[in-house]
Symmetry: C2
Subunit: 335 residues, 2 copies
């Protein structure tokens, strides 16, 4: 991305092993993330930056210290580099690894190949070479599925719980899927787009709420005996969505937030009197990857349906444009 | 409180039973809370308002539907009225009860007597008439101890954990006591007042950090191998203290906040990249009262030591002044 709104596909030098813990992966597919729209729209600064942080592919080369992935393995990687051995990783927060590095900022996987540091701690091999039809779902696990899943875990979605999901983008839809898998009793998707409502229902939503802001909060309370939802997942990252999520959570309930929330400011006193649990941030996708790959491999979930536009990598610019204009929920780029 | 800074003790009509679920309690002792200083200092509006929300005393009269407390019982009450039967109460969040009422705003226990609504759900009787020496500790349970305890529970203080406490007021000191009781391995009290440091050590602090703000965060990180504390309790309610607590918590760790946080605004993006759990608000003291009364009754904890000035109720104005000028940590008012 040369500057906001200006995406180009250009020749770069091939990545190579630098550290003995690196791997070079030849990508099979990659995609455009909602968070890529922040610099695209000028909300985050950008200046000739590599882009992309979601990736699946085949390991082409490994450093001398790499043990758990080997050349030829098909791998899914997290959007955060992690060693998976430090105390923070071992506690399940690979997104806060002492060696954390964001793939988006320095590596950029909207590319043919990528050098992945801490390959053992970042990549997870699939049980074998996947069928073509599984590629979109495996790619989703790299971020949107892992992130939606984390949102649902952070919101403590589970049996007996009413879960509300704020946001009907790819992450919100994946949060619906996750809440369903985690056994939630009732799942309320907040969406005003007919196509996305349909997909939300496909993934397990039992109710749809089209209202937003204070009206959205009032509607959630109405649906929950005046109490609010047990679990609310914020998957947008705007001020309105954040306060909607805070307001929709019952006292003692849990709000998980996974939308990158630039320009959001939470009044302390509102959080105080809400009496809720709040947890979120960059998802520790690596924690969930083995389980998510298993669910996909066994055809028990179909997250790949969130991709509603597929383009060759060369047309990445059109992919950004389609997502920016909301013509596409999520764009898959083929190689 | 007639207006900010103007506290007077005046004759009022005796409270009487209004609802069949009410009790009238003749107070044995009451006190001044750090949160009473908000209106005193003009941060919260105030206009001829009754004051006080911490109380212990003897039940003088009960309504026809009161079952669990009877005339003559010595009781400790929560600073939030709760029915203790609604779904929110049953989940442990009596502070968010559907019948929630703040004693501070409508009842006012800096008084000789008080009408307590939902007596069964708000008051807890002690095992018998307490010895005089236990009165301050039982009074502390009504708010500062219960609040500090909630802060420690919200921060998930426990075995193997390093806990940092931001704030050396009465609630911060009680949070130190709670963290100790909950089995925390290491307790870092953030304090720059020699007397309070001493009390923090008495209650179980293993380390003292005098630095504040970014320096305080850096010091906590230094003491925790660069990672941050597992559990941080925010017991002040200012912007600096809040961000200090966020910054001192390791990724995946827990921050409990119990300081009433007027004028605090938390940047969403800082919370996002911190990757921490945040929980707090008005403490569901009623949840903890039976256990806290038991610990006090058995002389296993001595929270009453936080009171460092005792005055008769008539001198309430001097009590406010002493706390405002930080000459006293917490003022007990006798009757």
């Amino acid at each position: 991305m040369h500057t906001a709104g200006d995406v180009r596909v250009e020749e770069r030098e091939d990545p190579r092993i630098v550290e003995p813990t690196d791997a070079v992966v030849r990508l099979t597919a990659t995609c455009v993330c909602g968070s890529d729209l922040w610099p695209y729209r000028g909300v985050e600064p950008v200046d000739h930056q590599v882009m992309g942080h979601e990736y699946v592919g085949v390991v082409e080369e490994v450093g001398s210290e790499v043990r758990s992935v080997k050349v030829g393995d098909f791998v899914v990687g997290s959007f955060v580099i992690s060693d998976n051995t430090c105390e923070i990783c071992r506690s399940g927060y690979q997104s806060g690894c002492v060696h954390r590095e964001f793939v988006a900022q320095t590596i950029g996987t909207q590319a043919e190949k990528a050098r992945i540091p801490y390959a053992d701690g970042t990549l997870v091999p699939t049980p074998g070479q996947p069928d073509e039809e599984l590629i979109p779902s495996l790619l989703a696990a790299s971020d949107v599925l892992g992130t939606g899943w984390f949102g649902a875990v952070a919101a403590e979605a589970g049996p007996g719980k009413t879960v509300a999901v704020v946001g009907d983008g790819a992450v919100g839809l994946m949060a619906v899927l996750a809440a369903k898998q985690l056994g939630a009793e009732r799942i309320i998707a907040m969406s005003r787009h007919p196509e996305r409502q349909k997909l939300a229902r496909f993934y397990g939503a039992s109710d749809i709420v089209a209202e937003r802001g204070d009206e959205g909060v009032a509607r959630i309370r109405e649906l929950t005996g005046g109490l609010g939802a047990h679990s609310v997942i914020e998957a947008v990252g705007t001020q309105e969505a954040t306060m909607q999520a805070v307001g929709a959570t019952r006292p003692g309930g849990h709000m998980g937030f996974v939308g990158v929330n630039h320009d959001v400011s939470i009044p302390g006193i509102d959080l105080f009197f809400a009496n809720i649990h709040v947890h979120g941030g960059p998802a520790p996708v690596r924690r969930f990857l083995p389980e998510l790959i298993r669910l996909i491999w066994d055809r028990r979930i179909d997250p790949g349906k969130v991709f509603d536009l597929t383009l060759p990598l060369e047309q990445a610019a059109e992919g950004y444009k389609a997502m920016d204009e909301r013509r596409a929920t999520k764009v898959l780029l083929t190689l």
